[in-house]
C-alpha cells in the first residue's frame, strides 16, 4: 500500500546510549526513543517545531562531524545526524544548568496560584519545575501582570498571566484545524494570545487547545473549577458522537462524567478530538431520565404512562409482540453498540420472526440498503486513516467531513498540508471546510450528483469518500459503485453515527443478516442460530407493533409521518430519556446510557473500537440486551445471551459467509424537474453543532455553534425576489421554515443551502432533505414586530 521508501537511518548517542532513528528526526524525539524525556513546553510531536520556550536545551558534544556546539541547543529543533553525541539533563551538567536557567526564567513571571489553578496536579509546568527547577527564586521584583481571565469564546477561557507563550494553541489553530482565530498579538513581554474583538474562537476543534496547554492558561468554561485530578477516575473509551472512532479519556467525579479528553491513538485520532466529542457528554445527565419501566394505562390517545414493575412491563411488551409477530418493526439507534444491535437483530429474527429491522433513523431508501449490503457490510479491505494520509487524491461526494466526521477532516488537512494530498469536492457550495482543505470545487446541483459522479476521472491513489446524505439522491450511490468498481480508485462510506458500521455487521437491515448473510442466503446463520431463517417474512409495511430504541423523531424526513406511525402502532420503547418517542409509547423500558455500558463500535474504517463503562449505574435501568433476553425468555425463545459480552461472543462465532456478494444497486437518476423561478433545490448537511440531542446540557459548547444562515447565490436570490435583511421562508412538502440568509458567490444556481437540524429549524419538519425542491419567498415582518 505504502510507496514511501525506507527512511535512511542514523545512529546517535544520547546520554551514552545509542539510538537508531530515521534521518531528520528531531533530537527530542530521538531522546524519547532512547527513553529520555527532555522537558519541554512548546514542543509537540504533531505541531511544527518552533523552538520558542527553550526548555529542552541539551548539550551537543559532537554534531556528527567531530565538532560540538559551544552552548546548549534546543532538542526540539535540532535534527540528529549520524554520529551525533548529545547529553540531556540526565548526564550533562551544562544541559541540566541550561534547563534550570530556563525554568527559573519561566517561573519569574508565572503566578504562584497553583492551589486555585485547574491545571494543578496535572500540570507539565508544575511537574517539570519539580524535576528541573531550582528550589529558590533568586530574583525579586514586580511580575508581569494582566487582567484576569478573558474569554476567547463561550467555551475557552484564557488566563494570560499563566501563559508561557509556547504557542501550542495558536499553532494548533493555524496548522491542524485551520481556524486561525486565535493569534499572538503584541510583542515582547506584552505578547499574548488573543482573538480579534467580537470575533470569538468558535472552532469545531477549540477544546484541543485546552488539552494542549502545558500550563493552566487555557481552560474550558465547561470544566473549570469543577474538579481536581486526584478526585477523578479516568476511563479510556471510544467517542459515541460520530463514526470517527476517537479514543477518549473520560474523567468522572463522584460517579458523574465531568470531562472528556482526547486519548492518544496514532492510527485514529492521533491526539485530537472535536468539540462535540469532547464536550457533548451531558445529555445523559440532562433532561428527564427514565428511572423505572412504564406502561400506558388507558387508550393510546388519552392514557398516561404509569411506572410499573419490570415484570409487568415485560409482560405487556411480550403480549404485544406475541400478537403482532411478523408484523413487528424494529428501529434501532445508529449510536447503539454492536452488541445491542446484534441483540435486536437476533431478537427480531429468532424471537419475533421478522426481517423488519433498521438502524437508519434518517432518510434512506432501498438503493442505500442494497449499497450497504453489497459494498459496505462485507468489507474486508477498508480504507483507513493512514490510506487517506498517503492518498494522492481524495474526492468528497455528499460528504462534509468538517461537520460530519471532524477527525477525518483533520487527517485530510494534515495530508494536504504535509503530504501534498489534493482534495476535490462535489458540492453545490464551497464550504469553510473545503476552503481549509484547499479543495478543488466541482460545483454540482444535488440532483446532478449521479451525472457528476459518472464524469469523475478516477486514477490509482484516489479515494472517494461518500457521506450518508448521498443516499438521498436517487441514483447517486448506484452511479458511484459503478464508477469506482470500474476504476483503480477506492471507496469508503462514512456514516455519521458511531454505531452504523456495527449495526451493519449485526445485520440491522431488512435484507441483511449478521455476518453479511443476505436474507436470501441464510442457511449458514440458520445453522449457527439453530433457527430457521428462511421462512421469515420480509419487512412489515404497516407494523402493528414497533420496537424503537434510542431514536429521535426529528431525525426523520418528516417527523409528522413518523409521529403518525407512532400513534397508530403499539410502541415498545427502549430509551434513557423521556423522548418524543417514549412519551407516545405504550411500554417504556429504561435502558442504561452508553457511559454505563461496555461494548463495541466499528468506526468508518471498520476498525473495532471498544467502549468502556465509565460510571456505575445509578438507576434501576438495565441494558437493552438484558431486557431483550428477558422478553425472549417470556416469549419462549431464549436469545442465547444476557450480557454485552455474551452478545459479542455470539456475534464473533458467526461462521463466515462464503456466498456471493449481494448485488449492487442499479437505480436510475430521477429526471430533473423544471423549477419555477421561486424554487430551489436543497443542499444540506448536519452542522457539527446543531440541535442534536447528544449536545443537550452542553450549553457553552452550543454557544460556539456557527450562525444559522441559509445561503443562496446572488442570481438565485434575485430570481426568487429575496429581500436582503428579510428572512427567507423555505416551504417544503410538510410546511415552511424561516431562515436568516446571506449571499454565497460560490453557490450553484437554483440551490439553497440549509443546515439540516438547526435548533427549531429541522428540515425534517418540512419534509425536506438533500435534493428536495423547496420554494422560497420573503418572510415579511409586520409592523409591531409580529411575524
Amino acid at each position: 500500500m505504502s510507496e514511501v521508501p525506507m527512511a535512511e537511518m542514523v545512529t546517535v548517542t544520547i546520554d551514552g546510549a545509542q539510538a537508531t532513528v530515521p534521518k531528520g528526526t528531531l533530537a527530542i524525539r530521538a531522546a524519547e526513543a532512547a527513553g529520555v524525556h527532555v522537558p519541554r513546553f512548546c514542543d509537540h510531536p504533531l505541531l511544527d517545531p518552533v523552538g520558542a520556550c527553550r526548555q529542552c536545551l541539551v548539550e551537543i558534544t559532537d554534531a556528527g562531524n567531530g565538532r560540538g556546539f559551544p552552548t546548549p541547543q534546543p532538542a526540539c529543533t535540532t535534527q540528529v545526524a549520524d554520529g551525533m553525541v548529545l547529553g540531556t539533563q540526565v548526564t550533562s551538567a551544562s544541559a541540566k544548568k541550561a534547563q534550570a536557567d530556563i525554568m527559573e526564567l519561566i517561573l519569574l513571571n508565572h503566578p504562584l496560584d497553583c492551589p486555585v489553578c485547574d491545571k494543578g496536579g496535572e500540570c507539565p509546568l508544575q511537574n517539570q519545575a519539580m524535576v528541573s527547577g531550582r528550589a529558590e527564586q533568586r530574583f525579586d521584583g514586580e511580575k508581569n501582570t494582566f487582567a484576569k481571565p478573558v474569554a476567547l469564546s463561550e467555551l475557552i477561557v484564557l488566563d494570560r498571566e499563566r501563559c508561557v507563550l509556547c504557542t501550542r494553541c495558536t499553532r494548533f489553530s493555524d496548522q491542524i484545524s485551520g481556524d486561525p482565530m486565535i493569534q499572538l498579538t503584541e510583542r515582547g513581554s506584552h505578547q499574548q494570545v488573543s482573538i480579534a474583538p467580537d470575533k470569538p474562537y468558535d472552532s469545531y476543534f477549540s477544546g484541543n487547545v485546552v488539552q494542549l496547554c502545558p500550563v493552566g492558561a487555557l481552560t474550558s468554561a465547561d470544566y473549570r473549577f469543577s474538579g481536581r485530578p486526584f478526585d477523578l477516575t479516568t476511563t479510556r473509551t471510544t467517542c459515541e458522537n460520530c463514526a470517527c472512532g476517537c479514543s477518549l479519556n473520560v474523567d468522572a467525579r463522584s460517579g458523574k462524567v465531568v470531562r472528556r479528553k482526547a486519548a492518544h491513538e496514532a492510527e485514529v485520532n492521533e491526539a485530537w478530538a472535536c468539540d462535540k466529542g469532547r464536550y457533548g457528554f451531558r445529555s445523559s445527565c440532562s433532561g428527564q431520565r427514565i428511572t423505572a419501566p412504564m406502561v400506558r394505562q388507558g387508550d393510546k390517545k388519552t392514557g398516561t404512562l404509569v411506572e410499573v414493575s419490570w415484570g409487568e412491563a415485560i409482560e405487556a411488551a411480550a403480549n404485544a409482540l406475541r400478537e403482532s409477530g411478523a408484523s413487528t418493526g424494529f428501529l434501532i439507534s445508529g449510536r447503539a453498540t454492536l452488541e445491542s444491535s446484534y441483540g435486536f437483530s437476533k431478537f427480531a429474527r429468532t424471537v419475533v420472526g421478522t426481517n423488519s429491522v433498521d438502524f437508519r433513523s434518517r432518510p434512506s431508501a432501498d438503493e442505500e440498503t442494497q449499497f450497504l449490503a453489497s459494498c459496505v457490510a462485507g468489507e474486508t479491505n477498508p480504507v483507513t486513516y493512514a490510506e487517506l494520509e498517503s492518498a494522492k487524491k481524495v474526492i468528497l461526494v455528499g460528504c462534509e467531513p468538517e461537520s460530519e466526521s471532524p477527525i477525518v477532516f483533520l487527517r485530510l488537512r494534515k495530508a494536504v498540508r504535509k503530504y501534498g494530498l489534493k482534495v476535490e469536492t462535489l458540492s453545490a457550495i464551497y464550504s469553510w471546510g473545503s476552503h481549509k482543505l484547499g479543495a478543488q470545487f466541482v460545483p454540482v446541483k444535488p440532483c446532478d450528483l449521479p451525472t457528476a459522479i459518472g464524469n469523475l476521472k478516477l486514477a490509482k491513489g484516489t479515494v472517494v469518500l461518500a457521506g450518508e446524505t448521498l443516499a438521498q439522491i436517487p441514483g447517486a450511490l448506484s452511479a458511484l459503485v459503478e464508477k469506482v468498481t470500474s476504476s483503480p480508485a477506492r471507496l469508503a462510506w462514512i456514516p455519521r453515527r458511531a454505531g452504523e458500521i456495527g449495526a451493519l455487521k449485526a445485520g440491522c437491515l431488512p435484507g441483511l443478516l449478521p455476518g453479511g448473510y443476505p436474507t436470501t442466503d441464510s442457511q449458514g446463520l440458520s445453522d449457527y442460530w439453530k433457527s430457521d431463517l428462511s421462512a421469515i417474512s420480509s419487512r412489515a409495511t404497516n407494523p402493528s407493533t414497533m420496537v424503537v430504541s434510542g431514536v429521535e423523531v426529528e431525525d426523520f424526513i418528516s417527523s409528522s409521518t413518523m409521529i403518525k406511525n407512532l400513534t397508530e402502532a403499539f410502541v415498545i420503547c427502549f430509551d434513557t430519556h423521556l423522548s418524543t418517542v417514549a412519551k407516545s409509547a405504550d411500554v417504556v423500558f429504561p435502558v442504561a446510557p452508553l457511559e454505563e455500558t461496555d461494548g463495541t463500535f466499528f468506526n468508518w474504517e471498520h476498525r473495532e473500537r471498544s467502549l468502556s463503562q465509565v460510571v456505575t449505574p445509578t438507576t434501576t435501568s438495565l441494558t437493552d440486551i438484558r431486557i431483550l433476553s428477558e422478553l425472549a425468555d417470556v416469549l419462549g425463545k431464549p436469545l442465547g445471551f444476557r450480557t454485552s459480552a455474551g452478545a459479542k461472543e455470539s456475534w464473533e462465532g458467526i461462521p463466515a459467509y462464503g456466498g456471493p456478494t449481494p448485488a449492487a444497486p442499479q437505480v436510475k437518476p430521477l429526471k430533473a424537474s423544471k423549477l419555477a423561478k421561486n424554487q430551489a433545490i436543497v443542499s444540506t448537511w448536519r452542522e457539527l453543532l446543531d440541535d442534536s440531542h447528544c449536545l443537550d446540557g452542553a450549553d457553552q459548547l452550543k454557544a460556539t455553534a456557527r450562525p444559522i444562515l441559509a445561503r443562496v447565490s446572488p442570481a438565485t436570490a434575485k430570481a426568487a425576489g429575496l429581500i436582503e435583511g428579510a428572512p427567507v421562508r423555505v416551504s417544503g412538502a410538510h410546511g415552511a421554515l424561516s431562515f436568516a440568509w446571506e449571499l454565497e458567490p460560490t453557490m450553484v444556481e437554483s440551490v439553497i443551502w440549509l443546515p439540516t437540524n438547526a435548533p427549531g429549524l429541522a428540515l425534517s419538519s418540512i419534509g425536506a432533505h438533500l435534493g428536495s425542491v423547496v420554494s422560497l419567498d420573503n418572510e415579511l415582518v409586520e409592523k409591531g414586530g409580529k411575524k
Binding site: 523552538g51 530556563i102 514586580e142 515582547g188
Partner: protein, 438 residues
C-alpha cells in the same frame, strides 16, 4: 602613511541632486550593469566572491558565498531582498545612503538580482524614515521610466521588478528571517533555520537577504574589479566601508575608509572628543557589540581585530561617550531598547529583558539592594546564549561589558542615584535648565 578615507559610496553624497537618475548617470552611474550583463550570472557571483565583500549589516558573512548558496536548479522563483531596516542603536549609514544616492543601491540591486537569477527584488526599509523611502521610491520610478527596471533591461533580456516596502516599527525585522516574515505580511518574528533563506526564504523560495551597504558596494566592484576592491582593507576584511561616529565627538558623521583604520584615527578625523572632555567608553559596532574604553583606541576596526578583543565590528557604529556619562543610565536605556524590541517569541529574551530592566531601573535610581550587581550578572548568565535569535545577545553584550568595565559605578546604585553621581545635564549638548530626574 597616515590612514586615509576612501569615499566610494559616500563620494556623491554632497553633490547637487545626487538622488536623481540624471545626476547619478552623469557621475558614471549605471555603467556597471552593462558590464554585468556582458558577464554570465555565475561570473558576477565569482567576481563578488573574489572581491572579499562581506555583509555590512553586522554579521560579516561573505556576500558572494551567500549568493552561491542559492540553488539554481530549484524550480521556484528566486528573490533578492535588501535589508534596509537599519535600527541598531548607533547605526546610521544606510538611511543617508538611501536619501543621498538611492540609485547606487538600485544599480546594486539590478546586478545582484541578475547574479542570482532573481526577477523580483524587494527593498525593505524601516518605516520611520519617510524621506529616504520617498527618494528610494522615486528612484525606482525613474528607473522604470528609463528602462532600467522592468522587462528586458537595457536590451539585456533580463527582467526585474523592484518593490520598495516600508516596515512599521520593529528592530527585530533587521534579523533576516524576521524581515522575510514581515515582508510576507506576518508578525516580524524570526524563523527557524534551517531551512536557510537561500534555500527556502521569501514564500519558501530561494532568497538572498543583504544589507543596503553590501548591495550598494556591488556596482563599484563590478565597475572596478574584484582586485581593486580587495586591494583595500586587511587580510580577511577587504574593501572599504562606512564608519558611523556619533556622540561626544566634535564632528559626528559618516566616514568611509578601508578596513584597517583604528578607532584613534577615526576619532581624530572626527575632531576628537568634544572640547574639554575625555573619552569614557564607546561601542565599536552598535549597542549590541560589547563596549570598549580608551584602552582599545588602537584596535584595528575590522572583523578579526575586534573579535580578538572580545567585541565585534557589528555595523561599524561607534557611539562615543565622554566622562560625564553614566554608564548605568546608558546600559538601562539600551536594555529598555531590547525589552521594547524583543519580539516575545522565546523565553530568555522576553523574560530576561523584562527583568534586566527592573534590576537596572533600581540601580539607576540608587535603590539597588546589595548584591544586585551580582544578580544582574546572574540574570545575564541565565539568558546568555539561550535565545532563539541574536537580539538578546546584544542585551547580554551591553550589560556584561558595562559591568566588566565599570562595576564600581553600578555598585554606586546601591545608595546613590546615577543622576546624582554623574549629573545628567552635563552630558547634554545644550544647557538643561532643570535637573532631569526620573
Amino acid at each position: 602613511m597616515t590612514t586615509q578615507l576612501t569615499p566610494v559610496l559616500t563620494k556623491n553624497w554632497g553633490t547637487d541632486n545626487s538622488w536623481t537618475l540624471a545626476a547619478y548617470q552623469k557621475q558614471g552611474g549605471y555603467t556597471a550593469i552593462k558590464k554585468a550583463f556582458a558577464m554570465t550570472p555565475e561570473a558576477v557571483v565569482g567576481e563578488v566572491k573574489e572581491s572579499g565583500l562581506r555583509g555590512r549589516g553586522g554579521a560579516g558573512f561573505p556576500t558572494g558565498m551567500k549568493w552561491s548558496f542559492v540553488p539554481q536548479d530549484n524550480p521556484n522563483p528566486k528573490y533578492l531582498v535588501v535589508n534596509g531596516d537599519e535600527s541598531e542603536p548607533g547605526t546610521c549609514k544606510d538611511i543617508p545612503l538611501l536619501m543621498a544616492s538611492p540609485h547606487t543601491l538600485l544599480e546594486g540591486v539590478i546586478i545582484s538580482s541578475y547574479a542570482i537569477n532573481a526577477h523580483m527584488a524587494f527593498i525593505y526599509i524601516r518605516g520611520e524614515v519617510v524621506h529616504p523611502i520617498r527618494r528610494m521610491r522615486q528612484a525606482v520610478e525613474e528607473a522604470y521610466a528609463a528602462g532600467l527596471l522592468g522587462k528586458n533591461i537595457c536590451g539585456s533580456g533580463f527582467d526585474l521588478d523592484v518593490i520598495v516596502q516600508s516596515g512599521a516599527g520593529a528592530y527585530i525585522c533587521g534579523e533576516e528571517t524576521a524581515l522575510l516574515n514581515s515582508l510576507e505580511g506576518l508578525r516580524g518574528q524570526p524563523r527557524l533555520r534551517p531551512p536557510f533563506p537561500a534555500v527556502a526564504g521569501l514564500y519558501q523560495c530561494p532568497t538572498v537577504v543583504n544589507n543596503v551597504e553590501s548591495i550598494a558596494s556591488v556596482p563599484s566592484i563590478i565597475d572596478n574589479g574584484a582586485a581593486w576592491f580587495a586591494s583595500m582593507g586587511t587580510e580577511k576584511s577587504q574593501g572599504f566601508t562606512i564608519y558611523s561616529l556619533s556622540g561626544h565627538v566634535q564632528r559626528p558623521g559618516q566616514y568611509e575608509a578601508a578596513f584597517g583604520i583604528t578607532m584613534r584615527e577615526l576619532l581624530e578625523m572626527a575632531g576628537g572628543i568634544r572640547e574639554g572632555h575625555e573619552l569614557k567608553f564607546f561601542t565599536p559596532g552598535g549597542s549590541s557589540t560589547p563596549l570598549l574604553t580608551a584602552d582599545h583606541l588602537d584596535t584595528v576596526m575590522d572583523f578579526e581585530s575586534l573579535a580578538a578583543v572580545g567585541t565585534m565590528l557589528g555595523t561599524k557604529a561607534m557611539q562615543v561617550f565622554d566622562e560625564t556619562v553614566s554608564v548605568v543610565r546608558t546600559t538601562l536605556r539600551w536594555v529598555e531598547f531590547y525589552a521594547h524590541e524583543s519580539c516575545g517569541k522565546c523565553t530568555p529574551c522576553r523574560e530576561g529583558t523584562y527583568w534586566l530592566v527592573q534590576l537596572l531601573t533600581r540601580l539607576e535610581a540608587g535603590e539597588g539592594r546589595k548584591g544586585d550587581v551580582d544578580k544582574l550578572l546572574a540574570l545575564v548568565d541565565l539568558i546568555d546564549s539561550k535565545s532563539f535569535c541574536p537580539l538578546l545577545g546584544g542585551a547580554v553584550a551591553c550589560v556584561s561589558s558595562a559591568v566588566e568595565h565599570f562595576r564600581k559605578e553600578f555598585e554606586v546604585g546601591y545608595h546613590t542615584p546615577a543622576w546624582e553621581y554623574l549629573p545628567y545635564d552635563r552630558s547634554a549638548l545644550f544647557p538643561v535648565a532643570e535637573e532631569v530626574d526620573s
